[in-house]
């Protein structure tokens, strides 16, 4: 297993895109507190603002870092097929489950480190503009930031699973962008049509929408026309997202063991 981890770590390190993705994620996330600081550093900070600043707008705009780390996850398996390296890889490391486990562990570790670094950078930015980061280590911000870490990890693993499931990069990218941004948004939008209100009870099972509950300090606002979606609590909603990731990875893993390389 150590050999597999060494392999994956070398694979990640020798790929330029890894640096680009992590770097872009950190910069895009840091841009949010910088913009907030420039626009509103004279206003007092409340919990929502601290949360959004430190998570880089993940719970408000787009989860930048999660998206970039998901691409790293997609590349972890998708690149192997796209560039035909899966055969050399499996002749260097023929135990397939060990290889997948190593990929999961390295992507998870890298995402965790990148997320913690990003939060540290963003907290520092807040400190520079406001001179303090109120309530960083107290609930609700503390739980929301732990949730943000979990959200990024699950998001990256969904990417890894999709890359392995589709055995390529483009289709996995399409799904990971289409699903949260278009399909789930459309679904939530449909519940606002009075005749389709009965769909509302299913919203709490939409994986990406449920996953966002992990990062919130106050209930999500879907607009005045939205029915009550009756979400599970933070960690149970995160569980919905995690189950989704586990299903994708599980299916991909089983297929990977069965299929020809």
């Amino acid at each position: 297993m150590l050999d597999a981890l060494r392999f994956e770590w070398t694979r990640l390190r020798t790929l330029r895109s890894t640096y680009w993705m992590v770097g872009s994620g950190l910069v895009a996330s840091a841009a949010i507190p910088v913009v907030l600081g420039l626009a509103a550093s004279d206003e007092p900070l409340h919990a929502d603002a601290v949360n959004i600043s430190v998570n880089g707008g993940a719970s408000f705009v787009i989860p930048f870092l999660a998206v970039f780390m998901a691409v790293v996850g997609i590349f972890a398996t998708g690149h192997e097929y796209r560039h035909g390296t899966i055969q050399p890889t499996l002749t260097a490391l023929p135990q397939r489950s060990r290889l997948i486990l190593a990929k999961i562990l390295t992507v998870t570790a890298l995402t965790a480190v990148a997320t913690l670094v990003s939060m540290a950078i963003n907290a520092t930015v807040v400190l520079v503009f406001w001179g303090e980061v109120p309530g960083l280590f107290d609930d609700p911000v503390r739980s929301a930031l732990l949730g943000y870490l979990a959200y990024n990890l699950i998001y990256a693993l969904v990417g890894l699973g999709l890359g392995l499931l589709f055995r390529g990069v483009p289709s996995a990218l399409v799904v990971i962008f289409l699903m949260p941004l278009i399909i789930e948004t459309l679904f939530v939008g449909l519940t606002m049509v009075p005749a389709l209100e009965w769909l509302a009870s299913a919203v709490k099972f939409l994986p990406f929408t449920a996953g966002e509950e992990l990062m919130l300090t106050s209930p999500a606002n879907f607009g005045p026309a939205a029915p009550d979606f009756d979400f599970f609590d933070r960690w149970a909603s995160g569980g919905v997202f995690a189950v989704f990731a586990a299903l994708i990875i599980g299916a991909a893993w089983i297929l990977f063991k069965k299929r020809d390389a």
Partner: protein, 314 residues
């Protein structure tokens, strides 16, 4: 030593490999020969557990997938261009080496060995097919393995490169290693291999040494030229030979020894201007062995003047 037993692989409709069993001995180069699409690559993938199918292959008694750090035992080159376009040759090998406990010094050593030393920090995106094959060979040699499996390694190499590859494989075999190398070119195998495994449409056609293959699949014929050829034909046929006329008016005699043909000319009092034997070249032997098993049969080009290739004077 590689021993493959009962290898079988079917894709939806085609049976690509049908019950192949063979052994590959150490100390010699074993050629794996077959026309395009005959199942060579599929067989190699099966042997390495990359494809799932029937049968079992043991490398010195172990299945490939249960070998710990397999690159140190079995080196492989499957297809060219199996690397990330922006990861340098050195980093590509470093990645594979890290899974097999191979030191960095060895990476530089094999890159120099295959002649990629000056290009090792370049991105393989710009590599020619020949350079890609060299990188693939470096990958195969990385763990200094006792067994090598190479799928058409000379594809894309220039004549000088092919010569170099041939010498390299022979010297590796002479060190006692097991070398299994595929090709669709018999002429190449004739120069490189000592033993042959020949397949057509996934079926075993021949397994043995190269000379034996030639003997089994070549029929030698006798060429006769004579001013009174027509008279001689009936004499030959009366003695049981079968005779055809060549394009040039020469007689092509089969099913009769050259000495017997000469003797018959003498007893019949027929003047000969040529009496020679012709054995089919290895290429022709290959064609006759695999012809029926050819997968993709192209239309024959229109024949123009034919020179008797491989003719040798008796």
């Amino acid at each position: 030593m590689i021993s493959a037993k009962g290898l079988h692989k079917r894709y939806e409709k085609t049976v690509a490999v049908d019950d192949l069993s063979f052994e590959v001995r150490p100390g010699v180069v074993t050629g794996f020969l077959g026309p395009n699409g005959s199942g060579k690559s599929t067989t190699m993938r099966l042997m390495l557990g990359l494809d799932h199918g029937g049968g079992e292959t043991l490398f010195d008694g172990e299945r490939f997938t249960s070998i710990r750090r397999p690159m140190n035992c079995v080196g492989t080159l499957l297809e060219a261009k199996q690397f990330h376009p922006t990861r340098s040759a050195r980093n590509h090998l470093k990645m594979l080496a890290s899974a097999n406990g191979i030191a960095n010094a060895r990476i530089d050593r094999v890159l120099d060995l295959v002649g990629l030393g000056p290009a090792k920090r370049k991105k393989p995106k710009g590599y020619s097919l020949g350079m890609s094959q060299r990188l693939g060979l470096a990958q195969a040699l990385l763990g200094d393995p006792h067994t090598l499996m190479l799928d058409e390694p000379t594809n894309g190499l220039d004549p000088h490169g092919i010569h170099w590859m041939r010498d390299l494989l022979k010297s590796l075999a002479a060190e006692g290693r097991t070398i299994f190398v595929s090709s669709h070119l018999l002429s190449e195998m004739q120069l490189m291999a000592d033993e042959l495994v020949v397949i057509g449409r996934g079926h075993m056609i021949f397994n043995g040494d190269v000379d034996q293959f030639v003997r089994e699949f070549t029929t030698s014929t006798v060429i006769v030229r004579s001013p009174s050829a027509d008279a001689f034909v009936s004499a030959l046929e009366a003695k049981g030979a079968s005779v055809t006329k060549g394009d040039d008016g020469e007689l092509v005699v089969s099913e009769m020894e050259i000495g017997m043909v000469g003797h018959l000319a003498f007893t019949e009092g027929i003047e000969l201007t040529e009496l020679s034997s012709r054995s089919a070249s290895l290429e022709e032997a290959f064609m006759s062995a695999t012809g029926a098993a050819e997968q993709f049969v192209a239309e024959q080009p229109i024949q123009t003047a034919q020179t008797p290739e491989g003719a040798k004077n008796a």
